[in-house]
C-alpha cells in the first residue's frame, strides 16, 4: 500500500466565475477563518456525544474529520450546520452562531448529508434547478449536473438512480447554491473506485474555486488525497490534528522493517531501512541469499490513524 499523497492533476476550476479571486495553486490559510469551534459539548441522555471539541477551518482549505463510528463527527457537523442545538461551547461558522443564524447565512452554506431518499418523483434536472432558485447567487444548474457527471441522467427520475448517482446528486444539490463553505458527510460511501476518483477531482476543483470544505470520511485514502489538514475525533474530542503527512508525529511515520530469522519474527523501526536491509542480507540471509519474510513498510495515513486510536485505547 502506498502512503504518499498523489498530487492532484490541477484540473480547471469548477466555476470560472469564482467569487474569491483567481484559483490558487494550493491551500490558502491567510484569508481568514471559516469555522471556529471551542469546547463544543453535546449530550444525548447519558452519552456525552461531543465532549470539549475544538476545531478550526481557514477559508479555502479542506479539512477531513476522521474517527470511528459514534465518535461524534456527524453530531458536530450537524451543530455547525445549524441542525442541532449544542449544550455548551462556542461556535462560529462564517462569522455567525449557527444556532441563531438566518436565511442569508444558510445561503452561504452547502450541505451534503448522509443517506437521503427524498424527492424520488422529481428528475435530476428539476431537483437541481428548483434548489438553485432558493439561493440568491446560484451556479448554473445544468453546469452543476454536468460537473457531477449526471448530464446523461438529467431527465431521469431520482428514484431510478443508483446509489452512487444518488450521492452525486446530493453533491450537486449541495453546491448549486454556490456555497462558501461546504459540508460533506461521508460523501463517497458506496462509490466504485472510478466514481470516487472523479468525485475527488470535483472536490479539489471546488476547493480551487475558493470553497472551504469540511469532510468526514472513513476512507483514509480519501482524506490523504483531499485534505489540507485532518482532525481525528474520538469520544467527542479531537485527539490528533495536522496535515495528512505530519499526523501522529514523526515517529508514527518511521518506516518499519520486519523479517524472520531462525523462526522468530523481528520488527524494527528505522529511518534507514535500506541500510538495515543491506545489513540483514549480510547477516540473516539464508542459503538462497534471501532474508525470510523481509518487508519494509512506510506507514500510510490509515496505519497512523489506527495507531493513534490504539494508543488512545491504551491510554
Amino acid at each position: 500500500m502506498t502512503s504518499t499523497t498523489t498530487p492532484s492533476p490541477a484540473p480547471p476550476p469548477a466555476d470560472p466565475r469564482g467569487r474569491r479571486g483567481t484559483p490558487a495553486t494550493g491551500p490558502r490559510r491567510s484569508s481568514g477563518e471559516a469555522v471556529r469551534v471551542r469546547g463544543l459539548a453535546k449530550r444525548y441522555g447519558t452519552k456525552q456525544a461531543v465532549d470539549g471539541l475544538d476545531l478550526d477551518l481557514a477559508t479555502g482549505e479542506i479539512v477531513a474529520v476522521l474517527g470511528p463510528n459514534g465518535a461524534g463527527k456527524t453530531t458536530t457537523i450537524e451543530i455547525l450546520e445549524g441542525f442541532r442545538d449544542r449544550d455548551g461551547g462556542d461556535v462560529r461558522v462564517l462569522g455567525e452562531d449557527p444556532a441563531r443564524a438566518g436565511r442569508a447565512w444558510r445561503a452561504r452554506l452547502g450541505v451534503v448529508a448522509q443517506d437521503s431518499r427524498d424527492q424520488a418523483e422529481l428528475t435530476v434536472a428539476e431537483s437541481v434547478r428548483s434548489t438553485a432558485r432558493y439561493y440568491p447567487a446560484p451556479r448554473d444548474p445544468d453546469e452543476v449536473v454536468e460537473a457531477v457527471g449526471l448530464a446523461p441522467k438529467a431527465g431521469a427520475r431520482v428514484r431510478s438512480l443508483s446509489g452512487g448517482q444518488r450521492r452525486r446528486l446530493d453533491v450537486a444539490l449541495g453546491v448549486v447554491g454556490h456555497p462558501e463553505l461546504l459540508f460533506l458527510d461521508e460523501p463517497t460511501t458506496g462509490f466504485d473506485p472510478q466514481a470516487r476518483r472523479t468525485f475527488w477531482d470535483l472536490v479539489l476543483r471546488l476547493r480551487d474555486a475558493g470553497t472551504t470544505i469540511l469532510l468526514t470520511t472513513h476512507d483514509l485514502a480519501e482524506a490523504a488525497h483531499l485534505a489540507d489538514r485532518v482532525a481525528v475525533v474520538r469520544e467527542g474530542r479531537v485527539v490528533a490534528e495536522g496535515t495528512p503527512e505530519s499526523l501522529g508525529g514523526p515517529d508514527a511515520r518511521t518506516p518499519l522493517v520486519t523479517w524472520t530469522a531462525d523462526g522468530v519474527r523481528h520488527a524494527e523501526r528505522t529511518d534507514a531501512p535500506t541500510a538495515l536491509a543491506a545489513h540483514l542480507m549480510a547477516t540473516a540471509a539464508g542459503a538462497d541469499g534471501e532474508v525470510a519474510d523481509l518487508c519494509i513498510t512506510r506507514p500510510s495515513l490509515e496505519d497512523v490513524y489506527l495507531g493513534l486510536l490504539a494508543k488512545e485505547d491504551h491510554a
Binding site: 442569508a104 445561503a107 418523483e121 432558493y134 439561493y135 440568491p136 447567487a137 449541495g174
Partner: protein, 284 residues
C-alpha cells in the same frame, strides 16, 4: 419553471434572497409535479368522494331522506357531506401525512439546509391543496349532477356560501394538517395515525349518516370539530332551505360555522408554528 431561469451571477455577494411569493410558487410547481406523478394517490384523492357517493346512493337509493317538510334523493342529501369529506381529505389528511413522510425521508432536512423559509414550503403545500381540492370538488359535483341527477344551486348567494365555506374549510384543514403532522413518530406510521382521526370525524360529523339521526352526545362531540361545520355549511348550499329545520339548531348557523372554522384556523396556526420541526422527533 425550467429553462426561463437566468441563474448567471456576477461576482460578489450582491444577490438578494428570493422573496416568499416566488419561492412558494416554485414549491407549488414541485408539489404539483410530484403529486401528479404518484398516480395511485391522484386516483384516490379524486375518486374517493365520488366512489363513496356512489356506494351510499346505491345502498340507500330507495330511501328518501328528510321529513314531511322536504323529501329529497339520497344522493342529494349526501353530496354536501362528500364535498366536506373531500375538503378534509385533501387538506388535513394529505398534508398531515405528506409532511410527516417528508420529515422522515429527509426532504425537510434538506430544505432546512437551504435559505428556503418554512413559510414558502407551507405555501407550496397550500397551493397544492387548493389545486387538488378545486379539481376534486369540481369532479364530484359534475358526477353528482350528471350521473345522480342532483340539482345544483343556481343562485349566486348559494355559490357565495359555497365559496367561503370551501376556502375557509380548506384553509383550516391545511393549517391543522401542518400542525398535526408533528404527531406521527415516523413516515411509516403517519397514515395509521392520521386516517383513524379523519374516519371517526367522518362518522360522527354526519358525512356517512344523516346528522339529525345521530345520538345527541355524538352531535355534541362532532360540534367541537371543523368537519361537522364544513358539512353543515355545504348542506346549506346544496339542500333546500326547508331542510334547515332538520339541523339540530333548526337553522344553517352560518355565523357559528365561520366562528368555529376561524377558531380552529387560529388554534391550528399557533400549534403549527410552535410544533413545526424540520427533523424527526427521535432525531436528537
Amino acid at each position: 419553471m425550467s429553462a426561463a431561469v437566468d441563474t448567471r451571477v456576477s461576482p460578489g455577494r450582491a444577490g438578494r434572497l428570493p422573496g416568499l411569493a416566488p419561492l412558494a410558487l416554485v414549491r407549488a410547481g414541485l408539489e404539483l409535479r410530484q403529486f401528479w406523478r404518484e398516480r395511485d394517490a391522484v386516483i384516490f384523492v379524486f375518486a374517493y368522494p365520488i366512489v363513496m357517493l356512489a356506494i351510499f346512493s346505491s345502498v340507500f337509493g330507495s330511501e328518501d331522506q328528510g321529513t314531511d317538510v322536504a323529501q329529497i334523493g339520497f344522493a342529494q342529501y349526501f353530496l354536501p357531506g362528500m364535498v366536506a369529506t373531500g375538503i378534509v381529505l385533501t387538506s388535513f389528511q394529505s398534508l398531515a401525512v405528506s409532511i410527516a413522510v417528508e420529515r422522515d425521508d429527509g426532504t425537510l432536512r434538506r430544505l432546512r439546509a437551504t435559505p428556503l423559509p418554512a413559510a414558502a414550503y407551507v405555501g407550496g403545500k397550500v397551493l397544492l391543496t387548493l389545486a387538488t381540492s378545486v379539481v376534486q370538488t369540481a369532479l364530484l359535483l359534475a358526477v353528482a349532477a350528471l350521473a345522480f341527477d342532483v340539482p345544483l344551486p343556481t343562485d349566486a348567494g348559494r355559490w357565495a356560501t359555497f365559496a367561503w365555506v370551501f376556502v375557509l374549510g380548506s384553509a383550516t384543514g391545511t393549517i391543522c394538517g401542518v400542525g398535526f403532522s408533528s404527531l406521527p413518530r415516523s413516515g411509516r406510521s403517519a397514515s395509521a395515525v392520521v386516517t383513524p382521526v379523519v374516519l371517526v370525524l367522518q362518522f360522527v360529523s354526519g358525512v356517512f349518516f344523516a346528522f339529525f339521526a345521530l345520538p345527541g352526545w355524538m352531535q355534541t362531540l362532532a360540534s367541537v370539530f371543523p368537519l361537522k361545520w364544513i358539512a353543515q355549511g355545504m348542506r346549506s348550499v346544496f339542500l333546500p332551505d326547508e331542510m334547515a329545520a332538520l339541523e339540530t339548531s333548526g337553522s344553517w348557523q352560518h355565523p357559528a360555522t365561520a366562528a368555529v372554522l376561524v377558531a380552529w384556523l387560529i388554534v391550528g396556526l399557533v400549534v403549527a408554528v410552535r410544533t413545526f420541526r424540520w427533523r424527526r422527533r427521535d432525531d436528537g
